[in-house]
Amino acid sequence: MAHVLLFGRLADVAGWRERAFDPAPATLFALKSLIADGDAGLAAALDAPGVRAAVDRTLISGDAALTDGAEVAFLPPMSGG
């Protein structure tokens, strides 16, 4: 199982903020395909410039292997302050 969190505009595009994918795909990229499956808008939003992913609360560059129970967050461009 992979626990997926969407933030900011990604949650608005997807229509959800939090969802479990069971079983967990083997990699981050495979999970991303699965999340966006059949939703071209969400696929584009996840691939937009500046979107980052965090696996178990660590920022990831590129792909990564996923273990069962992983928390995967997709983070659009950040803007605090």
């Binding site: 969190l5 933030f7 505009r9 609360r57 983070l75 950040m78 803007s79 605090g80 302050g81």
Partner: protein, 146 residues
């Protein structure tokens, strides 16, 4: 001290506390970001954080600033949730021996918060809502430090 809060806070009360009991500190710089808007508007901003992640990331930035600018102390308070017109959104306080370090650290931390802190800001305006993303200026500002 790093604090994320969904309640209004008073930047002045924090500054008073921050300045007290110091003798090596010659310089305290601060920055307060306020929510702009028209009087009488309800929430003009909504700030979303990633619980369990955002606070630690902001803490890493604060630690980086403390090391780089030789700070005696740093405090960051950031509102999350719904924010009304005139409310303080963010407060950064930096203490150092001399003014250049205190100013630069405060400036650096604001640039980082604007474009690198895991926070997402939604503006509610007369024409609907939109997610704010860092501007070209914000991206250029943060690159000054790299």
């Amino acid at each position: 001290m790093i604090r994320l809060t969904d309640q209004p806070f008073d930047p002045g009360a924090e500054l008073t506390r921050f300045c007290q009991g110091r003798n090596r500190t010659g310089a305290v710089a601060s920055f307060v970001g306020l929510a702009r808007g028209d009087d009488g508007e309800a929430a003009v901003l909504e700030l979303e954080a990633y619980p369990g992640f955002t606070q630690g990331e902001v803490g890493k930035m604060a630690a980086a600033a403390a090391a780089r600018f030789d700070l005696h102390e740093v405090t960051i308070i950031h509102r999350i949730g719904a924010i009304g017109v005139g409310d303080a959104i963010v407060l950064v306080l930096t203490a150092a021996a001399h003014r250049r370090e205190a100013f630069d650290a405060c400036d650096f931390l604001m640039d980082y918060l604007k474009s690198r802190a895991p926070l997402w800001k939604k503006e509610h305006g007369p024409e609907g809502s939109r997610w704010v993303e860092p501007t070209a200026r914000d991206m250029a500002d943060v690159q000054r430090w790299e």
